[in-house]
């Protein structure tokens, strides 16, 4: 295609550069072009939140953004939040409090939750439910997701206090 665009993105701290058609959606760039398969394709209609990533400090559904729109921006996926050997407190808490069953929604859940706790480090249960309303889970009934986020908030606040 002659209308390909030259795109530069910073994904999880790494500069990526490639040519892509404008119609390429960010979720496909991440999963198929860059092999970053943490963000999942659930509904692909901006409802379920499984494809949630952070772009320049905002939680975004990457199925509803063209990659060209993100040109020049910083993208963070679950891979940039923590890994098997250095779990983020949210990942640790989801594991500990059974915040997942099948795990399909979890990368989106945790990526969204990192932003939620950044904006509101001490959320009430109601605030967690409202702040996570863009992410759908079909296994847990949400109760353990709320518990996990509360536990992670406590943990992160304690760590922050200890560091001060």
């Amino acid at each position: 295609m002659s209308n390909k665009k030259h795109i530069k993105l910073n994904v999880n701290g790494k500069e990526e550069e490639f040519l892509a058609e404008p119609r390429e959606l960010l979720i496909y760039t991440l999963r198929e072009r860059l092999n970053i398969t943490g963000p999942h394709i659930g509904c692909e209609t901006s409802h379920c939140g499984a494809c949630t990533v952070t772009i320049n400090g905002k939680s975004i559904k990457s199925c509803t953004m063209y990659t060209v729109q993100a040109e020049g921006k910083d993208v963070t996926t679950i891979e940039g939040i923590g890994g098997p050997d250095d779990l983020h407190p949210l990942q640790e808490a989801f594991k500990e409090h059974h915040g997942l069953q099948c795990g399909y929604c979890t990368p989106g859940m945790i990526t969204r939750a990192t932003k939620l706790l950044e904006e509101n480090p001490n959320p009430t249960e109601e605030e967690i439910r409202f702040g996570m309303a863009g992410n759908i889970c079909r296994c847990t009934g949400y109760q353990n997701i709320v518990k996990s986020i509360q536990a992670a908030a406590t943990e992160m606040n304690a760590a922050k206090e200890a560091a001060e």
Binding site: R23, E44, S59, T64, M132
Partner: protein, 284 residues
Amino acid sequence: MIPAAFDYYRPKDMEAVLSILAEHGDDARVMAGGHSLIPMMKLRMADVPHLIDLQDVPDLSDIVVSADSIKIGAMVTQADLIDHAGLTKAAPILREAALQIADPQVRYMGTIGGNVANGDPGNDMPGLMQCLDATFHLVGPDGARDVAARDFYEAAYMTDREDDEVLTGVTIPTPQGGYAYEKQKRKIGDYATAAAAVQIVKDGDTCTFASVAMTNLSDTPIYSADAVDALVGTKVDDAAIKAAIAAMLDDIDPSEDNRGPVAFKNHVAGVILRRTIERAWSRA
């Protein structure tokens, strides 16, 4: 879901936007947050050979709160509306309504300009703008012009905006008195089964001013002048509220869809308007 191929433009100023629009006519569309347009392109219900992304156009993201009016740029997101303390103080109904739109991720992207310009009867801001008697600012090849929100909507997705014009922002007179925005929806992220916006002023125990607009109950938002007449001069007692609901029901024209049959929508519209008036009055 892959949309049809298109050319993408990210112009640096409005002049460049207008020249692309002039060149391609209705083959070109401007995009703000894209959270209405991109899903329609993915479903191939919208065919957009030339897509103009407004994100780099300056001066479209400001919120200016003055003594008697508020100006909001087209690219201000729902999240920006929610987070702006000065705006919430001057016009709390905007925050109350924005919190009921979509979900957090969508609110980071969805803009007030896209919401009002799209002309989707399900969008919440058009009805709210009619309630607040907003003015929409448009710019096109012949310069700038203003249109009242109450005159802007012609039918579903049909507005007074011409294909070669861009909506750059809205101005609302600073709202007075009590306010409420109530929305009945089936789930988070859904459009309203019925929604109502009310501003109301109380002097002593009498209503001296009111404004009533309804969302997703016709193919356009509905400002109900008759419902306003039914409230002004009363003590907003049960009889006045009943009269306002009856007047509103005469103005709306809901159609049956997956949110329910017409009779149900009329019923919900009445319930929602009652709640909205009562809550706005309690805050007046």
